[in-house]
């Protein structure tokens, strides 16, 4: 009962979170995060609800629970030497979370549920900064609720899957252009805000153990489209050429949550060592343009033109003792952003990611999981060339350098 209360408190409190360019947030489990967020073929906790529902029925324990949170400290630094511009973001600390439960119903069937936050973005620049016509601040979030069921077909093969319910919200403010102010000198801007946007999708998974020490995994998650309808659009300080044009405006917009494919392998070298590799393919080409249609007839078209991207993950686990398990990992995360589309709301170039983690087994049933992720982006000269003024493209660019530090802490329980 106490536990239940805790979990719902976490769900309620931690609805703001962020980070990661593109807006994918790969922080879905403390054990797996420690191993470079591999896990398609690692089946040792309820985190498999996310990583591979197909593998759940391979689990030994009857009940497994895990929950965690990953406070994200992200930074964006921008400069442009032609004009002497220098700006640092003041991103809020985001708190992606994850809660999983899995139950072994019988020898060949398991069920589970997960609540987690795979997408989000929380970027906050100083108001009216040099790129304020593209973004002042943005907060995107999507909470996934994912019930799954898994069947063991044979001793070597298990499959699973289930529907996904996504609940999203968006709050995005930017100036309407690079220079317009009202008579008092306050910049004209618009905030679009919507929450409770719902989308449905599904996930499928498969786990295969050709020999006892080798596990292969495969998962697929469908694309979902978050459609905001009749959201609130709040225009401020806009000089008016006709009265009432900017009063009580609403907006429609669609944001795709791309489909994702993952394949992976894990190998138990001996009693102490486990090694895992994952390959993720994210079908970002679904994100062509962020188009916002306002009820007053104005439209905002923001080409994104993302490309499909890959993530290469590598992880190691070492069971030092009965009480301690140590993990390490690395992954290379390709950016979906193409040249000329580097928008400051998701300023993402390729990143090198380093992870570490440990589990402390407090008792036979109860463990504390901790992990750490450092996201390193190389300094990059980039621009967004598709903002238009008077019908011509006005590039906005410079040099960006970003990073993120993400400690992650969780608990797991199993018997």
């Amino acid at each position: 009962m106490i536990r239940k209360t805790y979990i719902s408190a976490i769900v309620v409190l931690m609805t703001t979170f962020a980070y990661a360019g593109g807006y994918r947030v790969a922080l879905q489990g403390q054990k797996q995060l420690g191993m470079g967020h591999t896990g398609v073929a690692v089946i040792n906790s309820a985190e498999a609800v996310f990583f591979n529902p197909g593998g759940l029925s391979f689990m030994d324990k009857k009940v497994t629970l895990s929950a965690g949170v990953s406070p994200t400290f992200s930074h964006i630094h921008f400069q442009n030497s032609e004009y002497g511009w220098s700006t640092k973001s003041d991103n809020p600390v985001a708190t992606p979370f994850n809660v999983y439960a899995a139950v072994k119903l019988n020898d060949w069937m398991s069920a589970g549920i997960g609540v987690y936050t795979p997408y989000g973005s929380g970027v906050e620049y100083p108001d009216n900064w040099e790129g304020s016509h593209l973004v002042n601040n943005i907060e995107l979030s999507a909470i996934y609720i994912k019930p799954v069921v898994s069947f063991k077909i044979t001793d070597k093969l298990s499959i699973g899957g289930g529907p996904i319910l996504a609940i999203g919200s968006v709050n995005f403010n930017r100036n309407i252009d690079r220079s317009t102010t009202n008579a008092s000198g306050e910049r004209a801007n618009v905030t679009i805000d919507d929450s409770g946007v719902v989308a449905w999708g599904y996930s499928l998974g498969l786990a295969f153990r050709p020999i006892e020490d080798l596990t292969l995994g495969f998962t697929y998650k469908s694309e979902m489209k978050m459609k905001a309808e009749d959201g609130k659009a709040d225009f401020r300080n806009v000089p008016s050429t006709a009265p009432g044009v900017y009063d009580g405006v609403t907006f429609d917009a669609t944001l795709p949550l791309p489909a994702e494919l993952a394949v992976g392998a894990s190998y138990t070298i001996n009693e102490k060592w486990l090694v895992a590799f994952d390959y993720n393919r994210v079908y970002w080409d679904a994100y062509e343009s962020l188009n916002v249609y306002f009820s007053n007839g104005t439209e905002s078209h923001n080409p994104r033109n993302y490309k499909n991207s890959s993530v290469y993950r590598f992880g190691l686990q070492y069971m030092a003792s009965e009480r301690f398990t140590i993990r390490g990992g690395y992954y290379f995360d390709e950016s979906p952003v193409q040249a000329g589309y580097f928008a400051p709301e998701t300023p993402r170039n390729d990143s090198n990611n380093f992870t570490g983690g440990l589990t402390f087994q407090v008792s036979e049933r109860f463990a504390i999981d901790a992990a750490f992720l450092f996201v390193h982006f190389d300094e990059v000269d980039a621009s967004y060339d598709h903002y238009q003024e008077n019908g011509q493209n006005v590039p906005f660019g410079g040099t960006y350098k970003n990073n993120a530090f993400i400690p992650s802490i969780g608990v797991s329980y199993g018997f």
Binding site: G84, E130, S179, T241, V394
Partner: protein, 495 residues
């Protein structure tokens, strides 16, 4: 457990502080170079252009977007110090003297119910009381309305002289009643300065339609009227004394010359032939001028004027959308009726060589006292103040040529950076100057370079000027000051 929480908090703080650093930060000292210049104490001297005046008023936002302030922000990348400005009290514009309004609020574009824009004065009461004097010194010593000799005039900031020998804008921030602009500027021991002055020495004459006098040959400015053209020798000697004062401590600096009056929308917006008319009205109007036209052939016969002048003076309206306006031109030959001795009016119609001032747009076509037969510019000739005639333009151009020769000569002599503002604004007027969001042209309101008064630049226009200064400074002093981006500054304001 408590210890752990403290530790966690400490770690969290540490993580938040780990911000990414560039290999070379633009904010690092040494990224930009001051070259041979020292920007630590920059003082800007000049007139309304230096003050950031726009839309026929001085208001806070305009001051923040003055070209010296933009430059100072860029100088700050290379050792520039703080830059203070005598900010007015509001964004309305306009001034009060002992509670009485003495200057209009700023102009702003207002759209009527049909969506047609027109420039109007902002419907607010000014709050800037000039007797509330500010504690200086101020790096921006731009004084709207100042002519060259005003900068050296003692008592120019004495409130008792407002309306005659003093300037209300300088009253606000003069260090004492008896001081001069240049004395207050030099007292700050600038390490770097800009001087852009002389525009009003021709512009006041031009914008008043040439009602003043050309004072060439009169070397006593105290005797000048407010709309007169300054004597070139007075100009040269005062300019030299200003530079002597500003460079007394070895300061380096930049100066700019004076643009053509024909490059500003104030003179290029109203066409010379602005009057539409149908045949019946034309016949009626021509009837009214028949006697005058006949008299002209008589004066040709008498040898008082030649055939060419008679042609020029003949009034003829047609069924057309663009008839020239009737004006009074003091440069026409004065004529008297040989029988009565009565003066014959000096009338003619405008030609493509005339420049009709912007403010005439709301005057031409109006009636006198509501009498439909007394239409300004048609049956009632426009007075001298509405038109800058070719003869008046020549006076302006002559003075400008001499002033600009003085500025260039002294810039070279003192080794200063020189900005050819004339060439730049000619380019704006003729082809436009591109920026990353379009083209800055001198077309009224929509050209984005000039504010609604048709004389002073918009902030975008001032940004273009700041860049011209920065480029000249970089070239002269081997500095690497970054330019500003005009596209990020506002232009014309809509209500």
């Amino acid at each position: 457990m408590k210890k752990n929480i403290k530790l966690l908090a400490l770690i969290a703080l540490g993580l938040a502080a780990c911000e990414p650093e560039f290999d070379r930060e633009v904010s690092d000292s040494g990224f930009y170079s001051a070259g041979d210049a020292d920007f630590s104490n920059y003082v800007a001297v000049g007139n309304s252009l230096t003050a950031g005046y726009a839309d026929n008023a001085l208001y806070v936002q305009g001051q923040r977007n003055s070209y010296p302030n933009m430059m100072a922000e860029q100088f700050a990348h290379a050792g520039g110090g703080t830059f203070t400005q005598p900010l007015v009290d509001d964004n309305f514009g306009g001034l009060l003297l002992n509670g009485t309004q003495i200057a209009d609020t700023r102009m702003i574009l207002e759209f009527d119910a049909d969506g047609n824009p027109s420039p109007v004065n902002l419907d607010e009461t000014p709050t800037t009381e000039i007797t509330n004097t500010l504690e200086g010194p101020f790096n921006n010593m731009g004084v709207p309305g100042a002519k060259i000799f005003h900068l050296a005039a003692e008592g120019y900031g004495n409130v008792a002289g407002v309306g005659s020998t003093a300037n209300p804008y300088f009253v606000r921030f003069a260090s004492s009643a008896g001081t001069s602009v240049i004395a207050d500027a030099a007292a700050q021991n600038p390490t770097f300065f800009t001087l852009w002055i002389g525009n009003n020495d021709i512009l006041a004459f031009a914008t008043s339609g040439g009602v003043g006098e050309d004072q060439a040959g009169n070397i006593n400015p105290a005797t000048y009227g407010s709309n007169d053209i300054t004597d070139p020798n007075v100009f040269a000697s005062v300019y030299n004394s200003l530079l002597t004062a500003l460079t007394a401590n070895g300061a380096k600096g930049a100066v700019a010359n004076i643009p053509d009056v024909t490059s500003i929308p104030y003179f290029t917006t109203v066409p010379y032939a602005p009057i539409p008319m149908d045949q019946a009205t034309a016949d009626q109007v021509n009837q009214g001028y028949a006697e005058y036209n006949q008299a002209l052939s008589l004066f040709v016969f008498l040898g008082a004027i030649d055939q060419e002048e008679a042609q020029r003076r003949t009034i003829n309206f047609q069924a057309s959308t663009n008839n020239p306006a009737v004006i009074e031109d003091e440069d026409l030959t004065p004529l008297q009726n040989p029988l009565t001795g009565e003066d014959i009016p000096n009338l003619r119609q405008t030609t493509a060589e005339d420049l009709i001032v912007l403010t005439a747009s709301s005057f031409i076509g109006t009636t006198v006292g509501g009498d439909p037969t007394k239409v300004n510019g048609v049956s009632v000739p426009l007075g001298d103040q509405w038109v800058l005639t070719p003869e008046e333009q020549e006076l302006v151009a002559n003075a400008q040529t001499q002033f600009n020769a003085t500025i260039k000569g002294l810039a070279d002599q003192y080794g200063l950076a020189f900005v050819d503002a004339r060439a730049m604004l000619t380019q704006v007027a003729e082809t436009g100057i591109p920026y990353d969001g379009g083209m800055l042209t001198s077309t009224y309101a929509t050209g984005k370079a000039f504010s609604l008064d048709g004389v002073h630049p918009t902030a975008k226009g001032y940004a273009m000027i700041a860049n011209a200064f920065i480029e000249a400074i970089n070239q002269t002093y081997n500095s690497t000051i970054p330019i500003v981006n005009p596209g990020t500054y506002p232009d014309v304001f809509v209500k």
